[in-house]
């Protein structure tokens, strides 16, 4: 009796070992970068963490593959390295020698990615499933582009400034009109201005007072 159980156990673990190998067609490689993610607060990756990981994956499979009750033992892990990377395959609960298809596994992981990440305090970049690309968050598109808001503020301020300037000019002109003087001065100013601007265009340089040599 005992021998039979022993044989069965050996057989199942051997089978499991056969199913899980690097570059398995239905398996995925996982790479975890604890030090990069958590720095000094990084926990040590040990057997318990691996158990937790397998149970998380089992949870993901249970949630998204309808009908089947996956157990922790259905998640088979192999080829662990000091990097903290390993391969895993998922066996079917009914038939331990049959693997779940790659697509189903990928779909389950993709849908539960955020739960898996947060369980380990990691992110898409530090808990990598090689071959499963993370779905990037949809970009938050504000209704009005932010630059337009600042632009509007500045334009509004300038428009307000222009209005104030024009109003002040009008007020000043009205005040001048109310005072009786300054009518002649403005005429005089323009006359002087025209004469001055005409000087260079029409004048001819008078040589008689220059006492130096010239070409």
């Amino acid at each position: 009796m005992l021998e039979k159980i022993f044989l069965l156990l050996c057989f199942s673990s051997a089978l499991a070992n056969q199913l899980c190998k690097p570059d398995a067609s239905d398996g995925y490689k996982v790479r975890i970068s604890l030090k990069t993610a958590l720095g000094d607060d990084a926990y040590v990756w040990n057997e318990n963490e691996m158990f937790f990981f397998r149970s998380t994956l089992a949870f993901a499979m249970r949630t998204h593959v309808s009908g089947q009750r996956f157990e922790v033992s259905n998640i088979v892990v192999c080829n662990e390295t000091p990097r903290v990377s390993f391969w895993f395959v998922v066996t079917s609960p009914q038939n331990l020698s049959q693997l779940i298809d790659k697509e189903h596994v990928e779909e389950a992981i993709r849908k539960s990615r955020s739960r898996i990440n947060s369980a380990f305090l990691l992110t898409d970049n530090t808990l990598e499933f090689i071959g499963i690309h993370p779905t990037l968050a949809a970009p938050v598109e504000p209704v009005t582009p932010p630059w337009l808001i600042v632009f509007g503020v500045v334009m509004g301020a300038i428009a307000a400034g222009i209005v104030v300037y024009m109003v002040s000019t009008v007020v000043r002109k009205k005040r001048k009109k109310n005072e009786k003087t300054n009518g002649d001065d403005t005429d005089g100013e323009t006359r002087v201005k025209t004469i001055e601007s005409g000087r260079a265009a029409d004048g001819v340089y008078n040589l008689s007072f220059a006492d130096d040599e010239r070409l």
Partner: protein
């Protein structure tokens, strides 16, 4: 007949600040650090300062003297010096007009970046996600996010100058804003300009100082500053170094545009411009050096960051390929591990050899960038990595705005002042006249906001002003020293400031500066001829980088037109005046004949 009618600066300080605001512009920030880097770091200061003494200060003082004496814009001033040489002033105005057209586009970009800095995540820090949400946009991934933001979201640039498109609305709006503000600054001529320059001349220094403190405290900044200040003396033997120093001093001071003449024409007759000329030149060069310290600190930060990121990527690659524990390789030991792994696992290492990047701090520091690429791409990349990037971004682009707007003041004044010397325009009110000029420039400037607009901008930037300015200033100095006569010029100066210029000024004006200018001029022509077909950098969407492309025929024709249109003003005006005088002479002779007969 009084000069009271001509508007005046409220005080000599306003004039000084206006000159500073005009001369200290974007070139101090983005051209001088580049030249420093190209020509041996600290060693470049030697030719730069020598050229300042030999060429910068004398020419600057000459232009101020002419403007203050003649009390007219550039056209009127040069016509008064010699009737045949009014074309010199006209060439200045034409060049200033070209500058006005394209310079405000840079201010529009500064506005755009400034407005976009008011966000929690700077838009140029990350790539936008593509349609499937599986990764970043392809164009952005091939280039960098900052490049993508500049070329795609700011400019929406087309693939070459032949490919046209519509006006990019956001750019057009920013250009409109830039012109409205420029107009408001010059709306009442010197009365309004004089008040604005208090701010535009001084505030950039506040920002530069803040940035200096921030810059030198950044991680890796000292690498950059060390790189800048280690002089590579062998560069001094390279004649290009000296030519570039002369050219930089020349353009940095803004000579030949007519702005200095215009500014000086609003001075009191007895204003001591000699001292102000020296002061402004020294302030301008000092600002260049100051800005380049800040720039190199930022360079050092960015280069160190890139270097460390490169090392980090190599480290991850090694860890992932060889499945080693995470803390076995640190950033410092990456190179040792590469050697070790290459020796122990050669086949596996050969597989990743092409993915492994070469990380080198020197080569990161060596990437010298100038112009808009430096200001808008390299700087914004450095800023996004600083802590609290929004604040630094806002400060930086605000400073760029002030520098650019300050220079625009001079450019617009250079166009308006000579215009108002003519009867047609002097009858109009200042506001209307200035408004018309600004409106005209805005409408033409909208063509720079189209999808191929940046390529046209580059044409104007590279060819619009450089050659014609050299020509103009050369004619100017020859006119003043020889045609007008050094004696007469000295007398004018004595009349204005009370003493004759001393031997330094006379030697520079008569011999040294003209010779230097002739040398630079000749080198320019030689380089232009030897350069072959002019080329430009076109943005390739597929590759995500700029590609050197030749200008098409119409582009080259346009460049030729640009050069010819300003330079030809001088001979054409001389010819025109000559013909007019001859006609006048004939007319007078005929009248005299008639009068004798009738008498």
């Amino acid at each position: 007949m009084g000069n009271e009618a001509r508007p005046k600066w409220d005080s000599p300080i306003q004039f000084l600040l206006a000159c500073v605001s005009y001369a200290v512009g974007l070139g101090n920030v983005w051209r001088f650090p580049y030249l420093c880097q190209m020509h041996g770091g600290g060693g470049f200061l030697i030719p730069y300062l020598i050229m300042l003494v030999l060429e910068g200060v004398p020419l600057f003082c000459m232009e101020l003297a002419v403007g203050q004496k003649m009390r007219l814009g550039s056209i009127g001033a040069w016509s008064a010096m010699n009737p045949y040489l009014g074309g010199v002033g006209l060439a200045s105005v034409v060049t200033s007009m070209y500058l006005c057209l394209y310079y405000n586009v840079i201010n529009a970009w500064s506005f755009w970046y400034f407005f976009n800095s008011f966000q929690s995540v700077l838009p140029w820090s990350d790539c936008p996600v593509n349609a499937n949400q599986t990764g970043p946009l392809e164009e952005c991934e091939k280039a960098t996010p900052t490049q993508y933001f500049f070329y795609r979201e700011t400019l929406d640039i087309s693939s070459s100058i032949n490919v046209n498109g519509g006006i990019h609305t956001s750019q057009a709006l920013c250009l409109l804003l830039a012109w409205i503000i420029s107009y408001l600054f010059v709306i009442r001529g010197v009365k309004s300009t004089g008040k604005v320059v208090y701010f535009t001349a001084t505030f950039p220094y506040v920002v530069l100082f803040i940035y200096l403190i921030r810059g030198v405290t950044l991680h890796g900044a000292l690498n950059g500053i060390q790189y800048m200040f280690t002089p590579k003396m062998e560069q001094l033997a390279n004649p290009n170094t000296w030519i570039n120093a002369a050219t930089q001093i020349f353009f940095s001071l803004g000579l030949g545009f007519g702005s200095l003449i215009a500014f000086a024409s609003y001075n009191e007759y007895n204003n001591n411009f000699e001292r102000q000329a020296i002061a402004v030149s020294i302030i301008n060069s000092g600002t260049s050096i100051f800005a380049s310290i800040v720039t190199f600190a930022i360079y050092g930060f960015k280069a160190t960051l890139n270097f460390e990121n490169c090392l980090e990527r190599s480290r991850m690659l090694l860890l992932n390929t060889f499945d080693l524990a995470e803390d076995s390789i640190t950033i410092d030991t990456v190179f040792d591990w590469i050697k070790k792994l290459n020796a122990t696992y050669p086949e596996q290492f050969a597989q990743i050899e092409d993915k492994l990047e070469v990380c080198d701090l020197e080569s990161e520091l060596d990437t010298a960038v100038e112009g808009t690429g430096l200001a808008f791409i390299v700087y914004s990349e450095a800023i996004k990595n600083m802590p609290l990037p929004q604040l630094w971004s806002v400060l930086y682009f605000f400073m760029l705005l002030l520098l650019g707007m300050g220079s625009m003041l001079g450019n617009i004044t250079a166009v308006i002042t000579p215009m108002r010397d003519f009867k047609i325009f002097s009858r109009m009110s200042t506001e209307l006249c200035n408004g018309l000029v600004c409106m005209f420039c805005l409408l033409l400037g909208l063509s720079f906001t189209t999808t191929s607009g940046n390529y046209w901008f580059t044409i104007f930037n590279d060819y619009g002003a450089n050659f014609s300015l050299l020509f103009v200033v050369l004619i100017e100095i020859i006119t003043v020293s020889y045609i007008y006569g050094m004696n007469r010029f000295e007398k004018d100066i004595e009349d204005m400031i009370g003493h004759r210029p001393n031997w330094y000024w006379k030697i520079m004006w008569k011999f040294v500066s003209p010779l230097l200018l002739v040398a630079v001029f000749i080198v320019y022509i030689i380089n232009y001829i030897q350069g072959g077909t002019p080329t430009y950098q076109a943005w390739d969407k597929e590759q995500g980088k700029t590609v050197v492309t030749e200008y098409p025929i119409f582009g080259q024709v346009f460049i030729g037109l640009l050069l010819v249109s300003s330079v030809s003003c001088v001979p054409l005006t001389a010819l025109y005046v000559f013909c007019k005088k001859r006609k006048q002479g004939h007319h007078d002779k005929r009248e005299n004949v008639l009068s004798t007969v009738s008498a």
